[in-house]
Each structure stands twice: as structure tokens, then as C-alpha cells.
């Protein structure tokens, strides 16, 4: 859950990028890392295999700035997408304030997307978190690939987005949709925080 320091007026929120292997979760963080001024980000920590597949998580701390008089920080995490790393995925998911589900838009990856979304739900249930109350957005990555290889955002909405969540078409490699996705989940996380402690 978000951490609010009333003494120093600071808010810290944890956002987790979830999704199947090679859908582009790490790519999102790398793009953000490359775009954000150095004084407003920490080191990007990547616990990865030699082949650069995420083994445990990637981590990027960001200084968002002052919102409602609170210095606001976001901790961005990715989980390992590969199926056999579920134990570590669960650990990273602990205490998440918001989740970005990064789906791979390639038509042949649809089953992996569905499986990963179901896995997210199962892991949240394990942690007694109701997915319906958790700030969650969908990102349909790799929309830059040839049209005959991918599903459109509308088709992906039909297949994955039963709850009519906010969804964003993206090409994380080039950065298209990365900012919009982060903005989308940030709004939901802070909105929930605002509702939990009404003014």
C-alpha cells in the first residue's frame, strides 16, 4: 500500500509492470529511465539472467514532484514474465498500489496474455487483494509490428479487457504509449489514495 509520511509530507507508491515473457515490461522501464532527468530518478536495478531475461525484477525509483503539497515518489517494478518464475512474481507483487498489465499484441501470443492475466488474478487472490479494487491498466505493446501479425487494440480489448479498464496502445521500444500508460496508472493510484483518506 502507498506510504504516506505526514511529517516530511511524502508519498511513496509501488507500481508493478506485469505480463507474459517478452511482452516489453523491462522495455517500458528502460524507456522511462532514458527519458527522465537524472536528478529525478535513481539507478535502474535489473536482476536478470545473462541473456537479459528478468530473473527477479527490474526496479526504477522516480521523483514525481510535489502533488497536493506532498513530495511524491513512484517505485516502478517489473516481474519476470516466464511461467516458471511465479514464486518471484508473487514476491514482487506484494504491496503493489497499482499494476500495468503489458500485453504482447502479436496474435500468436494471445494465449500467453490470457494465461498471464489469469496468473495475475490468482496471485492477487493469494495475497487477499481483490483485482476489482486494485488500480490496473492494460498496455497493448508492439502495435508497431505489421498489421497481419498483431491484434488491434479493439480486438485485444475484446479478448482481455472484460472490466473496461483503461487501455493504451504502445510501442515501448520507441516510447509510444509509455508515458500515457504511466500517467493512466498514476491517476488511478493517486485517486484511490485520495478516496481512502478523504479531504
Amino acid at each position: 500500500m502507498s506510504l504516506v509520511n505526514f511529517t516530511t509530507r511524502e508519498i511513496t507508491c509501488k507500481i508493478v509492470y506485469y505480463g507474459p515473457g517478452r511482452s516489453g515490461k523491462t522495455c517500458n522501464l528502460r524507456y522511462i529511465y532514458g527519458k527522465v532527468p537524472e536528478e529525478r530518478r535513481g539507478k535502474m536495478v535489473s536482476l536478470a539472467t545473462e541473456a537479459e531475461r528478468t530473473l527477479f525484477f527490474d526496479f526504477l525509483p522516480l521523483e514525481l514532484g510535489t502533488i497536493s503539497g506532498f513530495a511524491t515518489r513512484f517505485q516502478l517494478y517489473t516481474v519476470p514474465g516466464q511461467v516458471y518464475y511465479n514464486a518471484t512474481r508473487k514476491l514482487v507483487l506484494q504491496g503493489a498500489d497499482g499494476v500495468v498489465f503489458v500485453a504482447d499484441s502479436q496474435a500468436r501470443q494471445l494465449d500467453e496474455n490470457i494465461e498471464s492475466l489469469q496468473n495475475l488474478q490468482a496471485n492477487l487472490i493469494d495475497q487477499e487483494v481483490d483485482i476489482r479494487t486494485l488500480p490496473l491498466v492494460l498496455q497493448y505493446n508492439k502495435q508497431d509490428l505489421p498489421a497481419d501479425l498483431i491484434l488491434s487494440p479493439h480486438e485485444l480489448d475484446e479478448a482481455l479487457n472484460f472490466r473496461e479498464l483503461k487501455s493504451f496502445a504502445a510501442n515501448a521500444l520507441k516510447g509510444n504509449g509509455v508515458f500515457e500508460t504511466l500517467k493512466g496508472v498514476s491517476e488511478l493510484v493517486l485517486r484511490k489514495l485520495s478516496e481512502e483518506t478523504p479531504v
Binding site: T7, I11, P61, I67, Q75, L190, E196, T197
Partner: protein, 156 residues
């Protein structure tokens, strides 16, 4: 200048006593999810978050390993290097399970850090008030400030 920061005032005295007695260079007290509740010795907030994320990850994976081996938990973990050692341990507190990550140098001993950590856990348990403070957080129109912050973050 070395900075000590705490989320709630009751943590300050036990933390300062621990740092002084154990001669710790850096100390973090955090939740199992890696959210920092108190800190000593770090200067950049983003460095604190990285250290906390890694510490929480080590603690979580160690706990999972304990589960696989049929142990309830491994309570503390110690790595000693040439110039620094790290001590990572959990404690029970009325606010829930907490983790402490301590970085120490050759000016102290791992045993002393462990000894004073146990005292720290007791002190924090005794100092913890029953009621968690609740105050209003965000104003209703926070979106504009959020949008401005994100736009400046991405140079837009």
C-alpha cells in the same frame, strides 16, 4: 551531514540509539514490501528506495527458501565484505512485520549489530503507539499537479 528520517516520530529515538550503539553506517527500517519507514545515513531518496527494494527482495526470497525447507523462517542474514557488511533481519511490531537493513564497517562487529538489533526490535515494539495516524492526503484536484509533474518528468 548524516540524515535520520522517520515516518512517525516514535521511531526516531530507538533508531538513533541503535545507530549509535551498533556503530552502523546506514540503516533502513521498512515493510516487507520495501516501503521505508525510517532511515539513517542515506542522502538521496531514490538510493534509499533501491536499497529497500533489494533488501525486501532478499528477505522475501529467503523466507520462501525457508518455507521450501520446512523452516518457519530464517530470522537474520549477514554478509561480510572487506569494507562493508550487511545485516538484514526481521522483527515483529504492532504495525506488522518489519525489516531492518543495516550496513556496517570494520569499526564494529556483526555480533554487536545483531545484539543491538534485538534491542532495537524491543524498543520499537514498546514505543509503537496503538493508534495509526490518519490525515487527509490529496486534494480533490490533484490531477492537474500530477499531469504537470509527469509532463516535466518526460520533458513535455
Amino acid at each position: 551531514m548524516t540524515v535520520t528520517r522517520v515516518l512517525e516520530p516514535w521511531m526516531m529515538e530507538p533508531l538513533e540509539r541503535f545507530v549509535s550503539e551498533a556503530d552502523a553506517r546506514l540503516t533502513l527500517i521498512m515493510t516487507p514490501a520495501g516501503q521505508v519507514l525510517a532511515q539513517y545515513g542515506f542522502t538521496r531518496a531514490v538510493d534509499v528506495m533501491s536499497a529497500a527494494a533489494l533488501g525486501a527482495a532478499i528477505a522475501s526470497s529467503t523466507q520462501e527458501m525457508a518455507g521450501l525447507l520446512g523452516e518457519r523462517n530464517f530470522k537474520a542474514l549477514n554478509h561480510q565484505g572487506v569494507r562493508h557488511g550487511i545485516f538484514l533481519a526481521e522483527m515483529e511490531n504492532p504495525r506488522g512485520r518489519l525489516l531492518a537493513l543495516v550496513v556496517y564497517g570494520p569499526e564494529t562487529l556483526a555480533g554487536l549489530v545483531q545484539l543491538f538489533f534485538e534491542e532495537l526490535a524491543r524498543d520499537l515494539e514498546q514505543a509503537c503507539p496503538n493508534v495509526k495516524p490518519t490525515e487527509p492526503v490529496l486534494s480533490a484536484d490533484f490531477e492537474r499537479e500530477l499531469n504537470n509533474s509527469l509532463a516535466s518528468l518526460f520533458g513535455r
